[in-house]
Point group: C2
Chain length 546, copies 2
């Protein structure tokens, strides 16, 4: 299982009983650890339940006086990778793992690298929405509002919005706010939800967070008590959920999406996974779905959502609805409907009892403000005492960053048709949307033209997730190199072309299938060239291993 | 132990064996939970080790098939406060607890409330440093750089700095950065450290984070494996550390600071606490100190730091040096020296082996940019494999917010004497510093003039932490109301005057002593009035309970 790196150190048994190697080279070798973990990640292929660490560490303190102390240090280090939180050590998060680290090194060496591993639109040239940056600028530098030339610098609605927000941001953007985010901003979010769905939304059930990921983590950290607590997650899935489950010590219950049917969800499949885990003593607490899907791009219909809601009601599961790509829908036969809306439309008993957590962000959609770190969750039918616990957890970091909060409010409360900024705002959005749509089609078509690759249509989100039909010789070569097939392919792709992707094993996939995820985000003008490079690599690879 | 609220529900035994009530009233009753937790927080008074949850939840999955499933729901709720992560439920974080929540309610009812519970300078009128906001504004709205009038709007060094940073922020502030923060900004931080201490600092050992609190939590989350892992923390202490230890399932090992000696640290005391815990099977992993102290305001000397370093070396402990108040030192006989500097000056073997984590922030000092959420940690002598684990943990949230990163870099790389902004920058800083110093003295003197209160001098940080000599009748009344003495006092203070403080029990204190923490941050012009109100309340209270 070696990865060819020097200075591997055998460091003793991890709780799984397997020897784990830890490379002691510098930080850049983070990939060494991830290589290890990739070999065990593919959820349905090799994943098996991790037994809890041995009992001697879990005894109550009453018994501890007779227990041996843990090992204090290793190689002279207390903060040694073998002496850390095992959940963290075992946790895998492939999006920024080995391939990304290697790509960075290549870039530092002067190679041309195209980062299509991560949904990071601005890094690839997408422009911020002007209105948002104008308002944020004035919130940051309110003294500009005193400039005599302010009206030449900014449209009147920008000035008015900034002044209006500043009235409600006591102390300005440099003051800690409420740990749930400023009331004013939560009101903007609630109005947006109400307008979108046609049902009331209460700002007191909304938490603004540093990106939707933080909101997801607050919930998982609260919900998961131990390995008996399970989380139903789609396979493939954006590995925030699997990483979170691992980190907080729970059990992932994967439900496979049906690649032959546009990555559809199959409720019977969810049900049988649930039952099987119950037999093994795992109680599922919540069900996650990502709509539109990441990496898979499928969109759920109203009927799908009704089915999910009924399932959650019958099985008593909290629903975690990751809806961060709700503005990225390209297929003409698809339309975003929020889980909240469907839930409310279903009426009693569902609308009054199904516990729903809905997540949204400023990082995706058409605004792509990843670096500002903003997002929210809306909590529907959640026990107030549980909301209190989430609030307590959120309060340890005092509050989410205020400019990110403001950006979230701006996303939810854009210029109105009668306002001066509306024309430019709309033009910018249409430009981004139309281009994303074209690039999604361009990329998926290109993949489907090649032998040995097939790709479901990207109906939504920001990715393509092609299926690679790896020849047996390629799989042999991969095994020899200590790699899963798609890792091997993606590393070769990176070496040959500088294109950075994420292997499908990072998201989970049906045993014996191989995929990779790429974004649709490279600049449209560069797409043909990137596609050509990819094509060149793929045909050469398939010939080499024919 | 009732708190007079309706609808208390007895919800069954928590793992401590005590019945815990959970109020099912709306979110505003977060305080109900905190009231419960306050009653058990005072670390040396009532704190006792929490036994681990019963074994049946901790068995390996091999055995689970014969184990009962956990309770699925309560009162029809899966996400019920009784069915959540017990560490979270039991965790206490008093700074934003009951009193703050109650104060908010009073404010909403129209009462005049003075928030001196939290180090939040801008909320109380402190102005941001102009240079920083000017640069941040241009990073947010780079299109302003194209304005013909840009040089009338901003000084040339602001423009130059913004242009320079933008060159190194690929994709602008809306793109995800490296999970450790942008290289350019980490370089600014490294240069600052080098200039401050006279020893090299490597940007690759620096992580930028959304506030220093996030950096602390990354480390605790990695270091603490289970209840056998201990953390040596000062008593009293800013409860981030106790909350973190609780949340991540470790054991707090408190070392009392000596109030009669200016809150000095006593190494023998640390040593005996360490030994006692070892007997009980707890291995201390790290030692925290806050310098200058929070809430206590004492400053460590070079000799103190040498002692701490030797102690950490001998006992094999990681040092966590919380140095967020390093710019807030008022006493003429005190001067900030970083732990890193002292460590390096000590030379081998210490300088090459003592594992040190140093934390700093933009939230305090003279810039007070709490809401932007920025800070960093520097990792000295930390195993690269452990740094990898921290990086992996940081990467789940992709990156810290980029504007907060920029503000951190700006704090570390301010205008130079020859630059246009220098004069204003220096003037603003001196104004803030001189005022903080005056307010610290004003407040401490005012406390010391009153009977029944004594207060150590605030040599540093942003707080006063007076000792209240509560009369027996007051303690009786407190007990009757189900309160710790200082909680009772602080609630009465809030009711009578609208002044919001944090009871000493929220920070830990020697058994039988009572304190509260107030900030020194109210506007200087309002201080005499606030002091007068406080005085009026205190004298009345002491007379009432004489």
């Amino acid at each position: 299982m070696g990865n060819g790196k020097s200075k591997n150190v055998e460091v003793g048994k991890a709780e799984t009983g397997k020897l784990k190697r830890v490379d002691v080279s510098p930080v850049a070798n983070y990939q060494a650890n991830i290589a290890e973990s990739h070999e065990t990640f593919a959820v349905t292929e090799q994943w098996s339940p991790q037994p809890r660490p041995s009992l001697d560490k879990r005894l109550s303190l009453d018994l501890l006086s007779s227990t041996q102390l843990p090992e204090q240090s290793k190689q002279g280090k207390v903060f040694h990778p073998d002496l850390l939180n095992r959940n963290l050590v075992q946790m895998k998060y492939a999006v920024r793992g080995e391939l990304a680290a290697k790509a960075k090194m290549l870039e530092e060496q002067g190679k041309t690298v195209t980062f299509t591993n991560i949904g990071n639109p601005h890094a690839l040239g997408q422009q911020p929405i002007t209105f948002y940056r104008q308002v944020l600028c004035l919130l940051t530098a309110p003294f500009l509002l005193d400039e005599p030339t302010i009206e030449q610098l900014f449209p009147s609605d920008v000035i008015a919005r900034a002044r209006s927000y500043l009235k409600d941001i006591s102390g300005g953007v440099g003051a800690y706010s409420d740990s749930r985010g400023l009331q004013r901003f939560r009101q903007d979010v609630a109005h947006f939800i109400q307008k979108r769905d046609g049902f009331p939304s209460d700002p007191n059930t909304i938490f603004l967070t540093d990106g939707a990921s933080m909101a997801v983590r607050l919930c998982l950290n609260a919900l998961i008590r131990n390995k008996q607590d399970g989380l139903l997650c789609p396979i493939p899935q954006y590995p925030l959920y699997s990483a979170g489950v691992e980190l907080y010590g729970g059990t992932l219950i994967g439900y496979e999406l049906d690649e032959s049917n546009g990555w559809a969800m199959n409720i019977d499949n969810l049900k049988s996974q649930l039952m099987a885990e119950k037999q093994r003593g795992v109680l599922c607490r919540a069900l996650v779905f990502i709509n539109p899907g990441n990496p898979t791009g499928q969109c759920l219909t109203v009927e799908n959502l009704r089915e999910v809601i009924k399932f959650a009601y019958n099985e008593q599961l909290v629903i975690m609805a990751d809806e961060v790509y709700q503005e990225n829908i390209y297929a003409s036969d698809a339309k975003f409907v929020s889980c909240k809306k469907v839930l409310m439309e279903m009426g009693a008993p569902y609308s009054q009892s199904v516990e729903l957590l809905s997540f949204h962000t400023i990082s995706k959609g058409l605004i792509g403000e990843c670096g500002l770190r903003g997002g929210y969750m809306e909590m529907t039918n959640i026990h107030p005492g549980a909301v209190d616990m989430i609030l307590k957890l959120a309060s340890i970091n005092l509050c989410p960053n205020v400019l990110g909060q403001a950006a979230t409010a701006l996303m939810c409360n854009p210029p109105k048709p009668e306002e001066p900024s509306y024309a430019l705002y709309t033009k910018e959005r249409h430009g981004i949307y139309d281009s994303l749509k074209r690039r999604a089609e361009m990329l998926v078509n290109a993949f489907n033209e090649l032998d040995g690759i097939s790709c479901n249509i990207t109906k939504g989100a920001l990715y393509a997730f092609p299926n690679i039909d790896l020849p047996p010789k390629a799989l042999e070569a991969a095994a020899k190199a200590g790699r899963i097939g798609d890792e091997f392919y993606c590393l070769a792709l990176l070496d040959a072309t500088g294109i950075v992707t994420v292997p499908g094993s990072g998201f989970g996939q049906v045993a014996g299938t191989y995929h990779f995820r790429t974004t649709i985000l490279p600049n449209e003008a560069q797409m043909p060239d990137i596609i050509a490079k990819f094509k060149g690599f793929h045909e050469k690879f398939m010939t080499q291993y024919a």
